[in-house]
Symmetry: C2
Subunit: 352 residues, 2 copies
């Protein structure tokens, strides 16, 4: 029997509530297709930070190396400043394991009320491909004259050709594999003087290698408006770390709930484990109530199994999710229902 | 008779088509209330760049100093790289004249089809207050190993306490003046290590001085999703140069058309002329067709007159705009009608 070794980091807030439902769904599909899991749980979180002064142990990255993949809930909780918790756990994992692709599907499902007028399932179906390890997410910089009225803060964004080209390559290849063969690049080259015109030039350069792909580019401001005005237009959208982050919350927001959206942090070369998580965060406002939507986590689990070569498990999870949404019997509050996290999780399990 | 001296820069693309309609509306209201205008037109544009190698003459800023205000159409056109055209005209005006406030109202009008399901006029009515001269829009940085596979691009964002506090002050004062007294700050302090946690601390510091104001903050990713999911929530939203730019396209996008949205680049101290423009750009795809929506420009004109102390002209323009929209007889294509730019402009004139 095939066996996959997964590191599980439930993390903070609703992370701890949705991960068990992800595991439930994966176990169910595993039973069906003869795949066994070895789950190893790590309690790395803001709670751990309070106790130990660290989000994860010093050798945390080392410990994770032996796993086939990492399954993460959410990181961040009031009481620990966000930049401390995130730079202490989520962001170093993305970086150290060169998970430079952040792949985030955006899809409107039957059964989920859409906030955009007149859209139906099928109208919204695209991928955001986000650069995941460099760019605007940077700890380079600092504060001069700190604490005085003369404070000056310098925040650098660092883009490299290697880092940019490899994410563009991934996005172009993905677009090439899809029927529409359409790639949209997010930019802001009219305002951001160095990095963005350069980004555009890398896109233009690579476009030459993919003559079949229809490439367009939008400044990030109008691009966000276009997500609302014409989501049908998009197929594969590639963006820097920050722009991809924004677009991959806004996109799912346009499909009714960001709680459904998954995030695959991929090291395509498979030199290191990849990490799979829901897009939503720890959601302190609803944490502990048992009402969080586990579908983002379940979908992330499906992507994890696809990455590991188990397409059958991926497909089975996706079908189950679609069935449960369509039947709309066990929807959580964010989707207009009143089911609990566990009820929705169990509904998916049954559908599998 | 009162007389106002306005510098007019139609600029590029549809800028040249919408500005005459703005002037038409302002003239009509001026006749009604006894205000005369002296319009001085400048042909600074990408066309000028092609002829002279500059977007504006070397003493361009100096020439503008003598005016009460600047009325601008749009800047940027294919053939001149965006960062060249914008850093050669729009951005230096904002900077040299310390127009550090970019005020952008977002409002859903009766008569304009809304892309969000189930929203009615009144549901969406807030301001984006955008920092307008520093932050992520920066020419500080450069490229190392340029043109080789080792290229590294460093792009700095510079935030100063003076620059941040003065825009926050403006936003807090605006929130204080409104019934809801609600301020939302756009941040990304979980990912952007230096500038954004510091931005949050400045917001927290100033909030102490405004105990009546209900302050919240959202990371920019979820904030964009919330514009779609719960636009009613917002009253005054304050953001950095980049975040404000994004939100002030997305917000109007959620109200049906960004072509209606105005942008006031304000120097609150009135040491220098302020500048008023529509949010939309030069729109090369529809330029020359005479179908651009002039309402953003007309609304910008209204804001200009308010800034100069003519509330009566502002109110009269706004009422005329509302009437024309409500009657929906002369709407341009972006609002679902088939009127030309001039027809809509004349309809507003008549309504005045
Ligand atoms: C043209 C561009 C530089 C400008 C900006 O980003 O400031 C525009 O998008 C705006 O919002 O006024
Ligand atoms: C928590 C935060 C640092 C993270 C990010 O911005 O990358 C999150 O928003 C995400 O999108 O995964």
């Amino acid at each position: 029997m095939a066996k996959v070794k997964i590191a599980v980091i439930p993390g903070d807030g609703i992370g701890k509530e949705v991960i068990p439902e992800g595991i439930r769904a994966l176990e169910a599909a595993g039973r069906k297709f003869g795949v066994e899991y070895e789950w190893t749980e790590f309690d790395w979180s803001c709670e751990t930070y309070h106790k130990t002064g660290r989000m994860m142990p010093e050798d945390g990255i080392e410990q994770l190396k032996q796993f086939d993949a990492i399954y993460l809930g959410a990181v961040g909780y009031p009481g620990v400043p966000d930049h401390i918790s995130l730079w202490g756990l989520l962001l170093p994992i993305r970086r150290e394991f060169e998970q430079y692709v952040n792949l985030r599907p955006v899809r409107l499902f039957e059964g989920v009320p859409c906030p955009l007028a007149g859209k139906k399932p099928g109208d919204i179906d695209f991928y955001v491909v986000r650069e995941n390890v460099e760019g605007e997410y940077s700890s380079v910089g600092g504060i001069q004259y700190e604490g005085t009225e003369h404070e000056v803060v310098s925040q650098q964004a660092i883009f490299t050709r290697r880092g940019t080209d490899r994410i563009l390559r991934y996005a172009f290849d993905l677009a090439q594999s899809r029927p529409k063969k359409h790639l949209s690049s997010a930019t802001k080259s009219n305002g951001i003087y160095h990095s963005m015109p350069w980004w555009d030039s890398r896109v233009a350069e690579m476009a030459k290698e993919y003559p079949e792909i229809n490439v367009d580019q939008y400044h990030i401001d109008i691009l966000t408006a276009n997500f609302v005005r014409m989501p049908e237009h998009f197929d594969v959208v590639v963006g820097s770390n920050l722009f991809g982050d924004i677009l991959s919350d806004l996109g799912p927001g346009c499909t009714g709930t960001i709680a459904i959206a998954p995030s695959a942090n991929i090291n395509p070369e498979k030199n290191f484990p990849s990490m799979f998580e829901p897009v939503h965060g720890s959601a302190p406002d609803i944490a502990g109530k048992g009402i969080a939507n586990p579908l983002g986590t379940i979908w992330a689990g499906a992507m994890m199994m696809q990455h590991l070569g188990y397409d059958n498990i991926h497909d089975s999870l996706m079908e189950a999710m679609e069935t449960v949404l369509r039947e709309a019997k066990a929807l959580t509050g964010d989707m207009g229902g009143s089911a609990t996290t566990i009820e929705l999780g169990k509904a998916v399990e049954e559908a599998i």
